[in-house]
Symmetry: C2
Subunit: 346 residues, 2 copies
């Protein structure tokens, strides 16, 4: 609690401290130390300087500085499986005793058996069946606790680390740099909103209300006579492809001027950003670093990253990040410790 | 743009300046000058002191300090008609030339004729027909411009002022006081999200992504080959009654510890707040000031404020605000200028 005199002092100090001034590399600390000089880093610094300089023809008022980031593959590792899908499989196993019928029913059987290859043959429909079974029938508070507890112990098969350790350091720096320059940062993912909200604040500094994802219906009920929200199996909306632009509007009410993605599911979000009123910035992460992370894209992941997406990006001036060339460090714990560096693409 | 040295300095200053300290009325400026001493004001000050004092058994971490406010009748005037309904009627008139069929079709005919009494007989279904016709078929950007322009000129029939001048000063002070104490403030209304987002930032200091309301579907389309979002006639969700708790979870991801409403549509939100983990605060605005504003409630507005709501509030320790007794000023421009003070309830 603080009083209005303190507030006035604070406001005056803030005004001095955060007054916009052009970034000079020689006298200011580097806000993006994990990014190699030139290339996309130079484009980011130039963009931010332009839109934050009052009087500049490219100036964007702080209220309009909305920046949106895809999550899987853009802010953290998405291979060999989406983290939420690993959670779903673990969750099916954890509650399978309560569902004896699953033992002989696909796709549950493959999930329980740990047969990921077979599980993936059931496609999106199979995945949705597992998501529905594991993401409904409990309160919103219970679900959040389940996810939080899982994140405390589950580890990535290659990196042998918690999934929350597998965020990309350069992107965390970028999020912080944008916020320090008056941007509001949003996560926009095909993944579940409720799943992401369990970790976006500590991982990315993004509060739950700046998370846009696929969302299920909830229902207000008096459970054990306590008013509570129960998660239902029905989908409220699916936040991928065109759904990302729609979801951003539903949750944020705005149109981004800055957006980053890494797959075809981000195309409409990036196109919509490119159509914003002011100067815009579109970024695409290209995974081309099998040694330190994974290599996939137009060459190998033609479902989610077709050649046309790369061509469209290059033709329209989108900023394509080469993880290999643009990032001198990928994880906060340093790639010196990265296991499986010799393994190549997985 | 500022560097990390500046950031460190700022962080140190902030730590000193915003360190929690108990509020002492004698040496700190009054954060709620439009509230009369004692009563609900004392309850608010006591609540905030308890939940923000580290080490107190009632301490609530800043991340959990979610405060939600109904809009119509809680933050601004809702009589004789909801502001958005006035907008809808004006909008039907404005575009009626493009819809000659409306001249002989209800409820459009009554809206065009300005026959509000008859219009209201068509109830919720009639209102929704008008809302659908006026809130879809344009881009999200176009709709926002239409609302913003309307708000610049439309005036309240009794107060002869812009609707944005009819916000309650004591509630604005409360919003600011809560935010200064680490709360995040949300608007939660049965009204349309897109309509509210056109004014919540300048009126309440609440950014668009902290507005929870009824929302229509949108569709990403290439209009004139530009990627854009088009407003559709279908409802995505209705944010009233139990829908308010559901909407808060969908948009904010959290459960409020502090909530204010003024009608039966706020009951579930307030009940859900009362069931939060920590110390909670529930407030209900009672309109009992015909001279300065309006008088309605259990006595006269039994649809939206039944006797049972007041009984439930009093039985459960909810804080009932008497506009007459608790607020020494209602509007920022002062009640000395309030016209129609002699008119009584309208």
């Amino acid at each position: 609690m603080f009083n209005t005199v303190r507030l006035a002092t604070l406001a005056a100090l803030l005004a001095v401290l955060i007054a916009p001034s052009p970034l000079r590399a020689d006298d200011e600390a580097d806000p993006l130390p994990s990014w190699n000089e030139g290339g996309v880093k130079a484009a980011i610094l130039d963009y931010v300087a332009r839109v934050t300089t009052e009087g500049s023809p490219d100036f964007v008022p702080a209220a309009d500085r909305i920046a949106t980031f895809d999550n899987d593959g853009t802010l953290w590792v998405e291979k060999p499986l989406y983290t939420q899908f690993v959670f779903v499989i673990d969750r099916v196993k954890a509650v399978s005793n309560q569902h004896p019928e699953w033992k002989n029913k696909e796709p549950f059987k493959s999930a329980i058996d740990g047969n990921t290859e077979k599980l993936l043959t059931y496609g999106e429909k199979g995945a949705m069946a597992l998501v529905t079974a594991t993401h409904s029938g409990m309160t919103t508070v219970e679900f959040n606790d389940i996810v939080s507890n899982w994140l405390k112990t589950a580890k990535h098969p290659r990196f042998k680390r918690l999934y929350t350790d597998l965020t990309y350091k350069p992107m965390i720096e970028l999020l912080e740099y944008l916020r320090a320059n008056g941007f509001t940062t949003f996560i926009v993912s095909g993944g579940g909103t409720a799943f992401m909200r369990a970790y976006t604040e500590p991982c990315y500094g993004v509060p739950p209300w700046q998370v846009v994802g696929s969302a299920g219906e909830t229902e207000f009920r008096y459970w054990d006579s306590s008013p509570t929200l129960v998660k239902l199996p029905d989908l409220l909306f699916f936040d991928d492809g065109p759904g990302k632009a729609e979801g951003i509007n539903t949750i944020s009410g705005g149109q981004p001027v800055f957006a980053f993605g890494n797959s075809i599911g981000d195309k409409e979000m990036l196109e919509w950003t490119a159509n914003c009123k002011g100067l815009c910035f579109m970024g695409l992460v290209h995974h081309d670093d099998a040694a330190r992370e994974y290599a996939y894209g137009p060459e190998s992941d033609v479902g989610r990253f077709p050649v046309e997406l790369m061509e469209h990006a290059l033709a329209n001036g989108w900023n394509v990040v080469s993880m290999r060339d643009d990032w001198n460090q990928i994880f906060s714990w340093g790639e010196a410790e990265t296991p499986g560096a010799e393994a190549g693409p997985q």
